[in-house]
């Protein structure tokens, strides 16, 4: 009887939700939980998982030098491209919002981030090619700045900077569109009221009106840029290869890929995935705290 009442009230609703719920559980929820479980085991796909305690994590942080390189690279990468992408997105959106030809500017800045990283790496490899044919080498030689070509994507010293430059180029992601839309949605009355309250210039407007009204969009943009900057893979692989010279372009996801799908050491790879998960999730949570708009 209780079930019948429940069904009459909510049955259709759950029916609408069901397809999403099944797929979401199967391919998102269970995988996250299963990753955590696997990270405490030895598992090579052929034999069933053997419990290993924290062995995988111990090896990751004490014995696996390559992981530490990958972690370091990813952190450097994320802490440079993440904030640059984030602030540049906001800054550019804020300026565009005040210009004419908004649509043109929006397209020009957004287009790079919807190109295929793999496809565009062909172009980037030409720009950063290590011989005299390379566009940048050629330019620098002709300008007399260098005499020998720089080995951009072969020299461990320049690999990470090149990956960072390319990623920054692609970093006006979804966050940029969200900022742009958010800016257009702030009601003009707020600015009028601000002017009455003594706001004098554009900078004050930005600090006292624009930023506080955009907290939900800023939060979304932050989460977006955290997840994408920590998940760097395509660009790193297509520019530096896997493994890259001296692991200079090795990232957490590259390490995960290496152990999971080349060596089939799924337990160990899952531990790498869990570390990545903890990093993005906790950073996301911190931003949620900082940008919480509940007080309003």
């Amino acid at each position: 009887m209780a079930f019948k009442k429940f069904w009459n009230n909510y049955g259709i609703g759950y029916l609408f939700l069901l397809p999403f719920l099944i797929l979401f559980t199967l391919f998102v929820i269970i995988p996250v939980l299963y990753s955590i479980f696997l990270s405490f085991t030895h598992y090579n796909i052929i034999q069933s998982p053997k419990f290993a305690g924290i062995e995988n994590y111990r090896i990751l942080f004490t014995d696996d030098d390559v992981f530490l390189i990958a972690l370091k690279n990813t952190l450097i990468f994320a802490f440079i491209t993440g904030p640059i992408g984030y602030f540049a997105s906001f800054f550019v959106a804020w300026i565009i919002d005040q210009l004419k030809m908004r649509k043109f500017f929006a397209l020009a800045f957004y287009a790079p981030s919807i190109t295929s990283g793999i496809a565009m790496s062909v172009v980037w490899l030409y720009f950063f090619s290590s011989d005299r044919y390379g566009f940048i080498n050629n330019l620098l030689i002709r300008l007399g700045i260098i005499s020998e070509p720089i080995l951009w994507n072969l020299d461990p010293k320049t690999i990470l900077p090149v990956i960072i430059i390319v990623s920054v180029w692609m970093s006006m992601g979804t966050g940029f569109l969200v900022f742009l839309a958010g800016l257009q949605n702030i009601s003009k009355e707020l600015y009028d009221a601000g002017a009455v309250d003594g706001i004098k210039n554009r900078f004050q407007e930005l600090i006292y009106i624009t930023l506080p009204s955009m907290k939900p969009q800023l939060l979304f943009g932050a989460i977006n840029s955290i997840v994408s900057s920590f998940g760097v893979f395509d660009i790193a692989v297509s520019i530096a290869g896997i493994p890259s010279p001296n692991y200079a372009g090795h990232t957490i996801v590259a390490h995960l890929y290496d152990y999971a799908f080349i060596r089939f050491d799924m337990g160990f790879a899952s531990a790498v995935a869990v570390i990545l998960f903890i990093l993005t999730y906790s950073l996301g949570k911190i931003f949620m705290k900082v940008l919480s708009s509940k007080d309003e």
Partner: protein, 287 residues
């Protein structure tokens, strides 16, 4: 103050801002312009030293060669275009329908645990998709889907962001529309299909763009799910074209392939741009 923007645009100081922005546009556009220009270069221009940025005598030859010439294998390039196009379109259609239905339920049915489910979806926005790849691989392989189109479709329908965006959008549609339709005797599915969906056109158009872009460009899933040459998608093929030894014949085809892979996403966005912008304001998260 309402005319503030216009007044300032007339101000001559703004030419500095415009030049600065155009300079930035140059930085974003240069690689794209080079990519487009190179795709139409004839052989002699491809191998000039010093290299030349713009094409002088554009030709379609690179495209014709890419599409007609066979590799050492017997699979024509058009097959990879089909693979990418087919799997992308199926994912896009299914994710739009599944996410919209789910979002409608969460937004308008006041389901018990509806909030819990939505909070989990928000949390899932913070998962890097790579975290789930290993179990996904195991699940896909258990289901016997490795090396089938399904492997590129089924795991990618339920995307947290898609249902999140639809829910945010549907939520602001007044309940009165639904109540009025119900009084007129419309059943739930009809309300969803005839009232909600038409009103959400900007939102699902946006989903189409994002889902198209991410699936078209996806490199990781086909990399781990697909070994069969005939089922590979464009990003994988590009990678192997690029990774091959620098044969002269390939550079032209490579440039053309890069063009073919890059342009569709930009065109799709360009067509849907104003709808996307209408929707994006709903992407905010209240922390």
């Amino acid at each position: 103050m309402i005319n503030n923007k216009k007044k300032i645009l007339l101000n001559t100081k703004w030419w500095i801002v415009y030049s600065f922005m155009l300079l930035l546009v140059l930085f974003t556009a240069l690689p794209l312009i080079y990519m487009i220009s190179t795709a139409f270069k004839p052989y002699d221009e491809l191998f000039l030293y010093p290299p030349r940025f713009f094409v002088r005598r554009p030709t379609m030859r690179n495209f014709i060669e890419l599409l007609t010439a066979l590799d050492s294998s017997v699979i024509p390039f058009s097959r990879y275009i089909f693979n990418s196009l087919f799997t992308t379109c199926v994912v896009v259609i299914l994710t739009v329908i599944v996410s919209s239905m789910g979002a409608f339920a969460i937004a308008k049915y006041k389901l018990p645990y509806g909030n819990v489910i939505f909070n989990i979806i928000i949390a899932a926005l913070m998962f890097s998709p790579h975290v789930t790849q290993i179990p996904n691989y195991l699940i896909v392989s258990k289901l016997g889907l490795l090396n089938t189109y399904w492997a590129l479709i089924v795991p990618k329908i339920a995307v947290a962001y898609n249902i999140f965006l639809m829910k945010q959008f549907i939520e602001q549609i007044p309940d009165t529309y639904i109540e009025a339709a119900r009084i007129d005797g419309a059943k739930d599915f009809k309300i969803f299909w005839k009232i909600i969906m038409p009103m959400c056109k900007p939102a699902w158009s946006t989903l189409i763009v994002f889902s198209f872009v991410s699936n078209w460009n996806d490199y990781f899933s086909p990399l781990i799910f697909i070994n069969k040459q005939a089922l590979k998608t464009l990003p994988l093929i590009l990678q192997s074209l690029a990774g091959g030894p620098g044969q002269v014949a390939r550079s032209g085809a490579m440039a053309a392939a890069t063009f073919l892979v890059t342009m569709p996403t930009i065109i799709v966005f360009l067509i849907m741009q104003s709808r996307v912008m209408k929707t994006m304001a709903y992407s905010g998260i209240k922390g």
